[in-house]
Subunit: 366 residues, 2 copies
């Protein structure tokens, strides 16, 4: 067995220690006589798994007591529709668009609003500059009466990250954020949000799980037609188990949370992530051969899009990278070029290996 450095944007690399434990326990979890995939979700064994996962997640992210943590299905994309179903309540919501994902969220919410009542407003967009930077305060026009303000705090495709929502205009409307691709990569103040949600397949675990963290006072606004399994109140009252949850994905997420705690929690992982990002961005900024389109103050620590100045070399670059054990560096088709996703599970040695390869490639081909 030889493992590569996997720069996939998601589903993404998992900590090797987590995978080893999962492999060890796959046929027999804690002498239960069966694996986690085979357990009733109502069994005491699985109850301990989901309860521990939630407790560790709450501890890592310091989730306030007046927020519910839900383990749901359908990914962030389903949340794009579930958010207006649950929170719009016939009113108007503001959407900030800073890349592909917040744009998709806006379009799906607009689609939903036309059917269920209410409306969504484009309250700011960086589309005209190619989503290469954050919104400036003077580019946002927030409606103080909005049901909520939706944003994506890390754009996986465009590599734009909003670290601190205090730069947003002051508003009483609850913030609802897609935090899929940088959750658990740094501490965050959950109390600044009405709700956050994250697809698991970046920093949490396997695809097929999405975690919703929602303030309790927002649980009772759902559109009357909201299906039971999509209704936050119903799922909160049923401990995320109105139906069978994605049990194995929740188990893996729980192992990742334990691993994060052994790494020292979010302050420690942030420090490691900062070091990795500085290494890669520092190299890009010093290079004439490579470049990144993202403005310095807007750069994601998790997803680093970059380009070769000469795109004719892209195929050779990727071929050499793969041969060097550096996988999944091709950029998203909508952006082109390259992208290195350096989530929590990517060690500094992986980023160093990437930089070494890039330096060598530019020396040979520059």
């Amino acid at each position: 067995m030889s493992r590569v450095y996997n720069f996939s944007a998601g589903p993404a690399a998992l900590p090797e220690a987590v995978l080893r434990q999962a492999a060890d326990e796959l046929l027999d979890w804690h002498a239960a006589g069966c694996g986690v995939m085979e357990m009733s979700h109502r069994s005491p064994e699985f109850s301990s798994i989901i309860d521990t996962a939630e407790a560790d997640f709450r501890e890592l992210l310091a989730v306030p007591a007046n927020y519910k943590v839900l383990f749901l299905q359908g990914g962030a994309s389903q949340q794009f529709a579930q958010v207006p179903m649950n929170l719009l309540a016939g009113r108007s919501a503001d959407y900030l668009v800073t890349g592909s994902w917040s744009s998709k969220a806006y379009k799906e919410a607009d689609h939903a609003a036309r059917a269920i009542g209410g409306q969504v407003r484009l309250a700011g967009s960086t589309e005209s500059c190619g989503y290469t930077r954050l919104l400036r305060a003077d580019e946002m026009t927030l409606d103080p009466q909005a049901a909520y303000v939706h944003l994506c705090t890390n754009e996986t495709i465009h590599g734009v990250e909003l670290a601190d929502v205090s730069c947003l205009p002051v508003t009483d409307a609850p913030l609802v954020a897609d935090v899929s691709s940088h959750i658990l990569s740094r501490p965050m103040d959950v109390s600044r949000y009405g709700m956050i949600y994250a697809g698991a397949q970046k920093n949490i675990g396997p695809s097929g799980l999405v975690i919703v963290v929602i303030r309790e006072d927002l649980l009772d606004r759902a559109w009357a037609g909201t299906p039971g399994v999509m209704n936050y109140r119903v799922m909160a009252d049923n401990g995320s188990m109105l139906n069978t949850p994605p049990t194995f994905a929740i188990y893996i997420a729980g192992l990742v949370f334990k691993w994060l705690k052994t790494q020292g929690g979010l302050a420690a992982i942030e420090s490691a992530n900062r070091q990795k990002a500085e290494l890669l961005y520092g190299f890009l900024d010093d290079s004439d051969f490579y470049g990144t389109p993202v403005a310095r103050d807007s750069r994601s620590r998790m997803n680093v899009p970059f380009r070769l100045r000469d795109p004719a070399l892209d195929a050779d670059f990727l071929k050499g990278a793969a041969a060097a054990g550096l996988a999944q560096l091709k950029g998203h088709k909508s952006v082109g070029g390259m992208r290195a996703s350096i989530y929590n599970a990517m060690p500094l040695a992986g980023v160093q290996a990437l930089v070494d390869y890039m330096r060598d490639f530019s020396a040979r081909r520059g």
Copy 2:
């Protein structure tokens, strides 16, 4: 490691060979340098996994070419809402209720119809007899103009199975069936249905995956507000990948399909399932100590609810069973008593061990 005989109704036992292969490949699938959980769903590696899974599933079930196979999220419970969203089209649909699951499907569809337009009709129910038998032909009143007729062909909780839909009144309306808990346990004629769907966590794989098989002419009836990831047409056009699918669950499902083929396919597995069911029902019928409430012609081969004549012995029965390595025999809380789910992955030896234990327990305590 010691594995029990696991009679869980779902998530349920998986073939040990499947789990062993999954454990072997968890850190490195086919020398890809990463496990399946860590692969981009757009990678050639995962494309081969999902394509092979679909091809094997189609082969096993002999799915006609004019049906799409979709790998979705949200379980059968989400389908209860998605079916009317996609197929009701402002019309009326008939629901046959023969147990807890078809009852839930009916209620969720009624809830959806009130919001999106159209209506659902209760076209027959066995609630008054406690869901202990199938509907008789004269108990069903089907509307020839119905958008569809919904039924559940195996009621996991009540242990009632409809093997042959030719006993239904003749109708031109497409049949839509929840086949979650007996799919792949026997051959079925998919062409008799407009659509079937199945949560994976019984005979297919881990929870968090639901498979939809739908005739192509039914793909274009969706309610305008249907979210993209819930719209069958959109998902069919995107190869189930408008968003990130539950990749690991699809991989395990694919391994289960391969295992089924090594067992000889559905005709062979049906023969084994018949033998297992006859052993258990035969024992129950011969016993004065145990009984099953389900009518003979309605009995499920997959889920066998049974009772001790003296419920005061239930706790001792379960305790002794657990000590004998016979797990998850407690009946659903809504029914009480016991339930043995004997899906494809349960070997005959497991059913024999259960019968031996039951015989011994009745001899000691009868």
